[in-house]
């Protein structure tokens, strides 16, 4: 089933007026970089006939790019309190909204100041100056480690904490809550368990988790924006405890979410599930991408290709690199004792991405939504152990699990 063009770029557009196959587009929409859907026509005549109603789309886009008044008002109070926009991967701040040709409706909001970490918490080597030292030069970037029983035991513990922290975040999600507040919950819960939130100051990342709303594929920075009814939001938690890391994420619904988004999120969940199902000694890392790609494209979605699953343990990110797309050249086969993550990012529209001016937030190029799920896994002699798996106490937030 895989093979042939896996990329979900080939859409068959229909004329917005009469429904016949369309090969013409409104040039104003092209200029304003508006989506083709609803702006495609089969003939100049159909376009002409639709013009008076169609051009309202241009006006709407113009207004939207100026910034809708209300949401940013909640920002201006905070800006006066010292909250600022993030730039340069976290190394700089600015009081003004940066310039960018935003791909969707989401905008960055100001972020709060850095949260302190108590002295008794064991810190990774980037906590102080933002620069990992051991990780980039380690042999473990080229060789996949087989964990010792002791390391495995520590990872079980740390991953368990990671799961509990993520669950705590899931419980506070509702319309009106800011992603900054979610980050606060994650930060406090991690510290309370005795761990360090691995993302904090990792290559200068300013917060203790990533919160990725709607068109954000990954690495969204928690800020002052309030979640809105209908949003989807991914929370990505990483914990450093007893010298090892855990890494997991889930995408949640905020209030009442439209059917297409529900389909997207469920499909993403299933892609991860199917990928995990093939994990066992002897399976090629390359195969993970085939499984995920097959499931995503079957549902009409695409797979984000810029980020991959990764080895994890005493290092946050190490070998192997596990792409989520098909026909990749990933090296190696799974062996018992290896620990790594699988974290597919599935997009409703195109697979391509853009990076925001903050240097971290990765968004879909077409502004359509993206969902993600992630687990840290251990390969066992006969299969796999999902170290970050859901617990009986985990909140019931995925309707399909009840079916």
């Amino acid at each position: 089933m895989s093979g042939g063009s896996d990329v979900a770029d080939t859409t068959s557009l229909s004329c917005a007026r009469c429904g016949k196959p369309a090969h013409l587009q409104c040039p104003k929409c092209v200029q304003l970089k508006l989506p083709r859907e609803g702006a495609a026509f089969c003939t100049q005549d159909c376009f002409k006939a639709s013009w008076s109603s169609h051009k309202a789309v241009h006006l709407k886009a113009k207004l939207s790019s100026l910034g809708t008044g209300t949401p940013h008002e909640q920002n201006s109070d905070l800006l006066s309190e010292g909250w600022q926009y993030c730039l340069k991967k976290g190394q700089a701040r600015t009081p003004k909204l940066p310039h960018f040709d935003w791909t969707g409706e989401l905008r960055p909001y100001a972020i709060s100041s850095r949260h302190p970490v108590p002295g008794h918490i064991e810190l990774p080597d980037w906590a102080a100056d933002g620069i990992p030292k051991t990780e980039p030069n380690s042999d473990l970037q080229h060789v996949v480690e087989i964990k010792t029983p002791d390391q495995i035991e520590r990872m079980r513990e740390t991953c368990r904490i990671g799961r509990e922290v993520l669950d705590a975040a899931a419980r506070v999600i509702q319309p009106g809550v800011t992603t900054d507040e979610i980050d606060r919950v994650v930060h406090d819960a991690t510290i309370a368990a005795g761990g360090y939130p691995s993302t904090l100051n990792y290559h200068f990342f300013p917060k203790s988790c990533c919160t990725s709303v709607n068109e954000v594929i990954c690495h969204g920075i928690p800020d002052a924006r309030k979640l809105e009814d209908g949003d989807i939001v991914n929370v990505d938690v990483s914990v450093y405890y007893k010298g090892v890391h855990a890494d997991l994420n889930e995408t949640y619904f905020v209030g009442n979410v439209d059917e297409e988004s529900q389909r997207l999120v469920q499909c993403t969940y299933e892609s991860l599930e199917k990928a995990i199902a093939i994990v066992k000694p002897g399976v090629r890392f390359r195969e993970i991408g085939e499984v995920i790609n097959r499931h995503a494209t079957m549902s009409g979605f695409s797979v984000a290709k810029s980020y991959c699953g990764h080895g994890i343990g005493e290092l946050f990110h190490c070998a192997p690199n596990i792409p989520h797309y098909g026909r990749n050249k990933a090296v190696g086969v799974m062996k018992a004792g290896q620990t790594f993550t699988i974290e597919p990012m599935i997009n409703a529209g195109v697979w391509r991405d853009r990076l925001w001016p903050d240097g971290w937030t990765d968004v879909t190029a077409d502004g359509k939504r993206s969902a993600q799920f992630e687990h840290t896994l251990l390969v066992t002699k006969t299969g796999v152990e999902v170290l970050t798996g859901r617990l009986p106490s985990s909140p019931n937030v995925f309707p399909w699990l009840n079916a």
Binding site: Q25, K89, K305, Y307, C308, P323
Partner: protein, 371 residues
Amino acid sequence: MEDDEEEPPLAVQIDEEIKHPTQPPPNDDVSVGVTVITGYLGSGKSTLVNHILNSQHGKRIAVILNEFGEEIGVERAMINEGDGNGGAVVEEWVELANGCICCTVKHSLVQALEQLVQRKERLDHILLETTGLANPAPLASILWLDDQLESSVKLDSIITVVDAKNLQFQLSERRNSSSFPEAFFQIAFADVVILNKVDLVSPEGSGGVLEELEKEIHNINSLASIIRSVRCQVDLPKILNCRAYEATHAAHLEELLEENRSLSTKDLHDSGVRTLCICEPRQVDLDKVRFWLEEILWDKKYGMDVYRCKGVLSVQNSDQLHTLQAVREIYEIVPARKWKGEENQMNKIVFIGHNLNEDVLNDSFRTCTTS
């Protein structure tokens, strides 16, 4: 154009491919080739680079001088602006994206090259000059991207510049028993070898010295094409657009299929780095071939160290000629084209490496044939 115009404008044709808002979708025609240029200090590498930068060839070429690496985070780039700017050469800095390299698919160097391509109106080619790097393999691994990424850059070839006057000496130099002089790696991984300073070797243009040197080079890597030069005055078309890592590139396939060409070489130096070719007329089971190759490349079975591997496969239940290509542990097998009616369908695989054993390779490959 005004918002509230009464008359609709003329609708425009939708292209087949969805266009990225600020970046056209790269395909074979659009992606820029990257050539890695390696060679000893004094071989004439810099002369080659200058020659390419300064000659009036009308092409826009950027040269990245790989001087600083990730620690500093920038590289210097010299760009020949081509016809558009009268062939002027400008200097620019290319910033390497810093951070989270470990969960991104593309290395920071690739991202930097892509940004360079995006910034420039048109770039015809990129040269990456290595400095102080013995082994071009790590660079090749980074640059040999999955087609799926549709990157605006692609690895075109690895070119090694060797000094005709000193090559013999460099090849016989031995650091210690377990390592090879860099010259071996640079030749083993090369797609093109520029044999430079030929005037210093045989000023009268006679004598078998150059032929001997070429034989030495081919003994290590019989797939590389050798170009003789004086002061690296090389014809650009000969070294650009080699498409050496393109699975379906026709020229390489034809070369491999040439029956009368014997590609296995004897081990002249006590080096153990040589080229070996195995042939098998019967069709093979693709799954078995993958396992067989992975055992050699990933598990180092039989104690062989394979640097490069290139081949054509005759696959069971397929009318497609499949190509095989490997650099160190990274490999790819893809269907390239239909076998032509008159072609002698067979498997032919070339290995370049150390401790290669022809019998073992032939015998083990035979187990991949369908019974």
